[in-house]
C-alpha cells in the first residue's frame, strides 16, 4: 500500500511537471494551430532567470516575477519578430520557425547564463510530508497546485470570456475573425505572452524539483507535447489530465514493471489511447462537413 502510494506521489510529481508544460502549449495552439516547440525554452527561461536574478540578490518571489515578465516579453518578441512576419505561411513552416526559435533561445541562454546545472531552494523547505508510509515533497504540492490553478484559469478563459473565444476563433478561421472585428495580431501577441508566462511560471515551480540548465527545454517540451496530445491538443482539461496521466504511467511502470522501458510503456499507452480516441482523451472531433 505504502509502495503504491509512493509510486502515486512520484507519478503526480512528474505528472505535474508535464502538465504545466502541456498547459503552456494550449493558448498558442488555440490561437494559431501551431504547436510551439519553443515552449520548453520558456520553461527553461523561467527557471534560469529566477536562478540568476536570485544570485544577483533578488529574493526568490521577486526573481520569479521578473523571470515570468521577462519570459513573457520573449514570447511577445518571438511573435512580433518571427511569427507575425511569416503570416500566411503554411503551418509546417511556422513549426520550423518555432524549432529555430528554440535553438536560438537555447544558444542565447548558453551565452547569457552558463552551461551548469542550477536550482534554487524549494518554496517551503525540503521536509517531506509523510502519508501512510509514503512521502511527498512540499514542492511537488506547489507544482500540482500550480498546474491545477493554471488549468482552471485557462478553462475559465476559454469558456467564459469573449477574449478566450476570440482566441479560438482566430485559429479556427482567421479571415472570419478579422471580419467580426477581432484584432488577430493582438490575439496572437497576447497568446504568446500568456503561453510564455505560463511556461516561465512552470519553470519557477519545477526548478526546485527537476533543476534547470540551458538545455532542459527540449526534453520538457517533448514530454509536455506528448501529455497534451494524450489529453487532446488545445483543451486545458486535456493538457492537465494528459500530463498527470503520463507522469502516473511512467511512475507505475517504473514501480511495477521496468524502469528501463517506462517511457516506452507511456508511449504505448498513448498509442493505445489514440487508437481508440484519435483526438486524445478530451479533444473534440473536427466537425467540418462535406
Amino acid at each position: 500500500m505504502s509502495e503504491f502510494l509512493q509510486f502515486l506521489f512520484s507519478g503526480l510529481t512528474v505528472g505535474a511537471v508535464y502538465a504545466l508544460v502541456a498547459l503552456g502549449f494550449t493558448i498558442i495552439y488555440n490561437a494559431s494551430g501551431v504547436v510551439n516547440f519553443a515552449q520548453g525554452e520558456f520553461v527553461m527561461l523561467g527557471g534560469m532567470i529566477t536562478v540568476f536574478a536570485h544570485a544577483a540578490g533578488l529574493p526568490i518571489p521577486l526573481a520569479a516575477l521578473a523571470a515570468i515578465a521577462a519570459t513573457a516579453a520573449v514570447g511577445v518578441a518571438l511573435n512580433k519578430l518571427a511569427i507575425e512576419p511569416a503570416r500566411g505561411a503554411p503551418v509546417v513552416s511556422l513549426i520550423i520557425i518555432t524549432i529555430g526559435a528554440s535553438i536560438f533561445i537555447r544558444g542565447a541562454a548558453q551565452l547569457i547564463f552558463d552551461k551548469q546545472i542550477h536550482s534554487f531552494p524549494a518554496f517551503s523547505g525540503d521536509e517531506p510530508i509523510h502519508v501512510l508510509g509514503a512521502t511527498i515533497l512540499t514542492q511537488s504540492l506547489w507544482a500540482i497546485g500550480g498546474a491545477f490553478a493554471v488549468f482552471v484559469g485557462l478553462w475559465l478563459f476559454f469558456t467564459r470570456t469573449i477574449l478566450g473565444r476570440a482566441v479560438l476563433a482566430t485559429s479556427n478561421n482567421r479571415l472570419a475573425a478579422q471580419l467580426v472585428g477581432i484584432n488577430t495580431d493582438f490575439v496572437m501577441t497576447l497568446s504568446f505572452a500568456l503561453s510564455a508566462a505560463i511556461g516561465a511560471f512552470a519553470g519557477v515551480l519545477i526548478t526546485p524539483i527537476t533543476m534547470t540548465s540551458y538545455d532542459v527545454g527540449l526534453g520538457l517540451a517533448l514530454k509536455g507535447f506528448a501529455g497534451a496530445m494524450l489529453g487532446g491538443m488545445g483543451n486545458p482539461k486535456g493538457a492537465f489530465a494528459g500530463g498527470l496521466l503520463l507522469g502516473l504511467f511512467e511512475a507505475m511502470t517504473a514501480g511495477y514493471l521496468s524502469s528501463q522501458y517506462k517511457e516506452a510503456a507511456a508511449f504505448v499507452v498513448i498509442l493505445a489511447v489514440l487508437f481508440f480516441m484519435p483526438q486524445g482523451l478530451f479533444g473534440s472531433k473536427s466537425t467540418d462537413r462535406v
Binding site: 476570440a166 479560438l168 478561421n173 471580419l179 467540418d288
Partner: protein, 233 residues
C-alpha cells in the same frame, strides 16, 4: 457612402480587378452581377480588407478606407457575409453569433441575438451545436446572421442565397429589403440576378475584372443583353 475608384487587385502576379469604379449611396441596395470568375468576390474582399489592394481608392463615409486593417472596418460600420460562409466551425452556433458582436458587450447583444433567432428559428434549435455540424443552408443563414450581429451601417453580402431553399431565399431578399428600411446600406453580389435586381435600387455588371454596365435595377432587368447573359431568359 461607399466609393471605389480605380480599384486594382491581384492574386500573386495575376491581376483580377483592373480598375473598378463603383459607388453605393447611403441607404441604397446595390447589386453586382457577373459570371463565374468575374471578380465579384475579390471586390468584396478588397472592401472588407482581407484582400490587398494594388491600386485605387476606397472611401467609406468620407474617410479613406484603403489602408485600414480588416479588423477595424467593422467598427467603422462595414460588415461582410463572405463567400464560402467562413463560419467558426469549431464553435457553437451561439458563440458564432456572439463573436459577430465581438465589438460590443452591451444589452443589445442579447436582443440582436434574439432577433437573429427569430429570423432563422433553426439557429435557435441548433444554438449549442458546433457550427460545422450545420447543413450547408443553415451555415449560410448563420453567416448572414453573424454579419448582422455586427450592427453594420453597410452590409456586404456575397451570394447570400446560395444553397438556400426557395422559401428561405425569398425570406433573405425580404430581410435585405427590410434592412433598407432600417437605414442599412447593402452591396449585394448574387447569382440569383433576377431576385437581386428586383430588390435593388441600382446594379453593376462585372466582366473579367471590370464594370461593363451599370444603371437602375429596373433598367437592367429590362435590358435584353442582361436578360440573355445573366437571367437566362
Amino acid at each position: 457612402m461607399l466609393t471605389v475608384e480605380g480599384l486594382r487587385s491581384r492574386y500573386g502576379r495575376i491581376e483580377v480587378l483592373h480598375g473598378l469604379d463603383l459607388q453605393v449611396d447611403s441607404g441604397e441596395i446595390v447589386t453586382v452581377v457577373g459570371a463565374n470568375g468575374a471578380g465579384k468576390t475579390t471586390l468584396l474582399r478588397c472592401l472588407s480588407g482581407v484582400q490587398p489592394v494594388s491600386a485605387g481608392k476606397i472611401t467609406f463615409r468620407g474617410e479613406a478606407l484603403t489602408t485600414v486593417p480588416a479588423y477595424k472596418r467593422l467598427s467603422r460600420g462595414l460588415a461582410q457575409s463572405p463567400e464560402g460562409r467562413q463560419i467558426f466551425t469549431n464553435l457553437s452556433v451561439e458563440e458564432n453569433l456572439r463573436l459577430g458582436a465581438f465589438l460590443y458587450s452591451d444589452d443589445r447583444v442579447q436582443k440582436d441575438m434574439d432577433d437573429a433567432f427569430a429570423m432563422f428559428p433553426i439557429l435557435r434549435e441548433k444554438r449549442n451545436l458546433a457550427a460545422g455540424g450545420l447543413s450547408g443552408g443553415q451555415q449560410q443563414m448563420l453567416a448572414m446572421a453573424r454579419a448582422l450581429m455586427g450592427r453594420p451601417s453597410c452590409l456586404l453580402l456575397d451570394e447570400p442565397s446560395m444553397g438556400l431553399a426557395p422559401i428561405i431565399v425569398q425570406q433573405i431578399f425580404d430581410v435585405v429589403s427590410g434592412l433598407k428600411a432600417l437605414g442599412v446600406t447593402v452591396l449585394l453580389v448574387e447569382q440569383n440576378a433576377f431576385g437581386a435586381l428586383k430588390i435593388a435600387d441600382r446594379g453593376y455588371v462585372m466582366e473579367t475584372g471590370t464594370i461593363t454596365m451599370q444603371g437602375a435595377a429596373a433598367e437592367l432587368i429590362a435590358d435584353p443583353r442582361i436578360r440573355e447573359a445573366y437571367l437566362g431568359i
